[in-house]
Symmetry: C2
Subunit: 246 residues, 2 copies
């Protein structure tokens, strides 16, 4: 007689709307997807797709600088308040993460919001990096995992932002019929995505954040960050390094 | 020659999605509207409308009990996890706040989420209490104030919930053409309200929270809490007491 198959308890598909809310979750029960659409996680996905050997996320600009003294061929990337920090190779514009610039390299990266969310999620079962450019690839992989999933929006200075929430909603859209129990923030994110999906850029233009980004002269970055399924690589945290999921 | 009129700097209309995010705001710059639709702020609005002299919000059940010893004719109301605490007159069902029960009385109230949000907002310029039952009354009053407005959702155990966010979105709907600068959470709340407004109850039925409330047998409460413009009284915090705004 075959053993009875235990029905697994329901898997959760939850959305953490800002890093300030991470302490409300038992992060260790989840696979975490870190989201920072403008622009850290988009750039990380693009860099890993383009052959970067690893991207090392660090919290502080000083930690980033410290890698200079390690005598290794690191690229150093630091962004604060949307701008490249003086003295660094580049910030978090995806156009800095092309094949020519990053193939075979290790990049040390610190950004305003994205690395913060990542560090707060460190106790998760696995941490992967999501962006519109790898949306379907990451959703297909998530469907194959038998775990609860927490989508962590990096937000803006610990508060809610629309672009990260829309991406969370896009993931919910692809996963919601795969047997997950979906929490209130996930339902809200999914509804917002469905309002915005026909023209994400137009939808986001009404936000004050969009005005702020426009002043930084990064409209081409924004357009790139909203492109869907340009890439298939999934960056995953391995120790302290983000590498390509094999 | 008349004095030049100083153009006031833009007023903000901001939504704080959970009490955990209150520290991100300079609360002292705002008039705060505290929102806990299911069911604390609905009951407070209904009680004040029905002639309660005052409602005193306290954080702890023990503080609530302490009023018993003060030898005054207080009604004691305590709710935890959606249920009346044993030994108390009532919890936060709006049907406990009828004219017959509360007219002329002072009620000491502690609830899971609502009084928590209220206490964290204490440094605001003014604190008023909002619910669907006083929606238009409170919006009309807010339009007459020349101040930035922060709509504080009490949420559920410090996290986001849909019903409080929908009410915030309903307020944004009435105020958004009155010269406010609206933040990302307010835009999101407003979009969600516009999806849900034709049948709030139906929209909320998809949430897990709704399942939880159904188990508590309070579906009649829920229906009441979603009725719009039943009342016109606006509860305002005066010292440590919520009283009717005159």
């Amino acid at each position: 007689m075959s053993q009875p198959i235990n029905k697994p308890s329901a898997k959760g598909l939850d959305v953490c709307l800002t890093p300030a809310l991470i302490p409300l979750y038992n992060v260790e029960d989840y696979i975490v997807v870190v989201i920072d659409i403008f622009r850290a996680t988009t750039s990380i996905c693009y860099g890993i797709e383009n052959g970067a050997e690893a991207i090392i996320p660090v919290s502080q600009v000083e930690e980033c600088s410290a890698y200079l003294e390690k005598g290794f061929d690191y690229l150093l990337a630091a962004e604060r308040n949307g701008e490249v920090v003086v003295g660094f190779d580049f910030g978090n514009s995806p156009f800095s993460y092309t094949k020519e610039k990053v193939a075979g390299k290790t990049i040390v990266l610190t950004t305003t919001n994205g690395t913060h969310a990542l560090h707060l999620s460190r106790s998760a079962k696995k941490i992967v990096i999501g962006a519109f450019i790898n949306l379907t690839a990451i959703c297909n992989w998530l469907k194959q995992q038998d775990e609860s999933i927490l989508l962590v929006c990096s937000g803006w200075k610990n508060n809610f932002n629309l672009e990260d929430t829309l991406f969370a909603g896009a993931v919910v859209e692809q996963l919601k019929n795969s047997g997950f129990v979906v929490d209130d923030p996930a339902l809200a994110a999914n509804d917002l995505y469905n309002i915005a999906k026909d023209d994400l850029n137009k939808y986001l233009k009404k936000t004050s954040h969009s005005e702020r980004l426009k002043k930084l002269g990064i409209e081409a970055d924004i357009e790139f960050c909203l492109k869907i399924d340009l890439t298939t690589a999934i960056p995953i945290l391995d120790g302290d390094r983000l590498v390509k999921l094999q």
